[in-house]
Symmetry: C2
Subunit: 338 residues, 2 copies
């Protein structure tokens, strides 16, 4: 059996997460039992939700246990199989974690899924045609439910979720306005992803200023919003919502570190008869097949051209993850393991 390297959560963050919270350790991979599959990971996905798992307090789900391999989505290739449905060479997507190899029970429902790399590059199954893409799909189609002609917005527009959201919203006839950090990301959002406009939040000192820019970019107001960040962006968007606006809340990245960020003016929920709804896409597995089919077609036909930030080697994962939390990535953040 090959020697495995993995990154475990060594201690929990006090305030901001740091590289010292993680530890790289060597571990042998266990012998394959009947029905199990050994996968060598090609790419590891880094996602904001992992920050929530690092805390002991209640977050999305169970906290990440100390001393165990960090949770995470992976794509890779089957090396050895004791399960009739998988054979060496199969390309697969799973939740292998921050390590080079994983052993997976091939019978566990949804634990390992074979994918076709004819039209879609393997890494995209961690982004546009994976969890982030389905996240965008669920928020847009099941919570926002936009009508053609409506205006919808999204924070972190250049990221994996935001880019998929833009393509899905354009396909539904919406005006789509992104919010991102810095001129390069904003140019990419408009020129490569096909958003109607993109606002650089770094040009705005507060929610009032950002709301003024949103007023220009969204002359008919905002009917739907997908929130990946929280804080100032959400406050600004709420100021520009139309009656019966819907906000899907998928990320509150700005609030994970330190004190909770308040919402400035919740009375707007009533004034504009808004719906604000939080969700976790892994609790809605029933939509994945439909969502993945549409997302795969958008990528395969070039209507969605997702960008990736790729860190090299497992040891680079912690720094890449901390950069993601600070918005340093440009597109889907991956770690290339092979």
């Amino acid at each position: 059996m090959p020697v495995n390297h993995k990154i475990v959560l060594d201690n929990r963050p006090v305030g901001a997460a740091t590289a010292a919270n993680f530890k790289l350790v060597e571990a042998p991979t266990p012998a394959l039992q009947d029905g199990h599959v050994l996968v060598r990971h090609h790419y590891l996905s880094l996602d904001p939700y992992m920050r929530g798992r690092m805390n002991e307090s209640k977050s999305y789900a169970q906290p990440q246990p100390l001393g165990e391999v960090m949770i995470g989505g992976t794509v890779g290739e089957v090396v050895e199989s004791q399960h009739p449905k998988f054979k060496a060479g199969d390309k697969v997507v799973g939740m292998g974690g921050w390590q080079n190899y994983s052993v997976v029970d091939g019978n566990a429902l949804g634990a390992l899924r074979k994918v076709d790399t004819t039209h879609v590059p393997l890494s995209h199954y961690l982004g546009a045609v994976g969890m982030p893409g389905v996240t965008a799909w669920y928020g847009l189609c099941k919570i926002i439910e936009p009508k053609a002609g409506e205006t919808v917005t999204v924070s972190a527009a250049s990221g994996a979720v935001g880019s998929a959201y833009g393509a899905l919203a354009k396909a539904r006839g919406c005006r789509v306005v992104g919010i991102a950090g810095g001129p390069d990301k904003c140019a990419y959002v408009v020129n490569e992803l096909g958003f109607d406009e993109c606002i650089d939040y770094k040009q705005h000192a507060d929610a009032i200023s950002l709301a003024k820019a949103l007023k220009v970019a969204c002359p008919n107001g905002i009917d739907g919003h997908f929130e990946n960040v929280g804080g100032m962006v959400l406050d600004a968007v709420m100021l520009r919502t139309n009656a019966f606006a819907r906000i899907a809340v998928c990320g509150m990245i700005a609030g994970y570190d330190g004190a909770p960020l308040p919402m400035a003016n919740p009375a707007l929920i009533l004034v504009n008869r808004m719906k604000i709804q939080g969700f976790i896409v892994s609790e809605h597995m029933e939509v994945w097949p439909e969502a993945l089919q549409e997302l795969g077609t958008l990528v395969g036909t070039g209507k969605l051209r997702p960008r990736e930030s790729v860190a090299e080697g497992l040891a680079a994962a912690p720094e890449a993850f901390l950069g993601l939390l600070k918005g340093k990535n440009f597109g889907k953040q991956l770690v290339k393991l092979i």
Copy 2:
């Protein structure tokens, strides 16, 4: 024609509303045109939404115009009719405003509705079997959608909306916990309205303390909440919500005066995958018949015994309204005009 007295909005509040914002004026009632009906009001309803209308800024709906009679629900008796569907002596409910008489177009859809006072006292058509009752019904049945055995909460539990909410939730097999101000109101909520528990928010200095009391009163957490107030109560309830909790937002009374009140920890929307939705019951007229039927039956059979605070005479309306905003009323606030 009788001489009418009415209260108009004389000027808009700066900060808190005061009696000086209103003016009592005398005005003749116009001659009846074909299809019109002259109504003498017996009771005027005072409701928190009126505070929102007093501002120039965007709130529930159009602002109350300066110099015009204050908007408000009324019950009364037809004095004279030029409409075949109404005759003198009919008991009717409408939106007659803060005045003794109103002239209503009998053909305007929903402007005037005849009511039966055999089993339900006339004044209750402004409360439990009127707009506040339907408000409770809509929030509970259409937004919270509780299952039997779930725990639901409501702020301002002793008020017109809260009392109807309690009866409706008990009828659906829920555990119902109220939040109200002062021991008298809390005793009434439990002993007369049949709530399982009621918490006196005045005994708690902050949301953390109130959340601890909620933990005791709601040992299985909170699945649904109806928010009439906002601020500390909402913050405390959010801390005790279960996964997939639903919050219907119908009032943000604490935020009308002065600066907006923030929501302390909106990240909980995501952590608990909550839905928070604001609504105005007048935008959902389609549910009124079904809701009024259930509410009328609850009152007629004694399962809902609403309490009223009654001010005497039109001139008393402004002070009674300001008292309502400060929580001085006990049950539905009315003004008796005859």
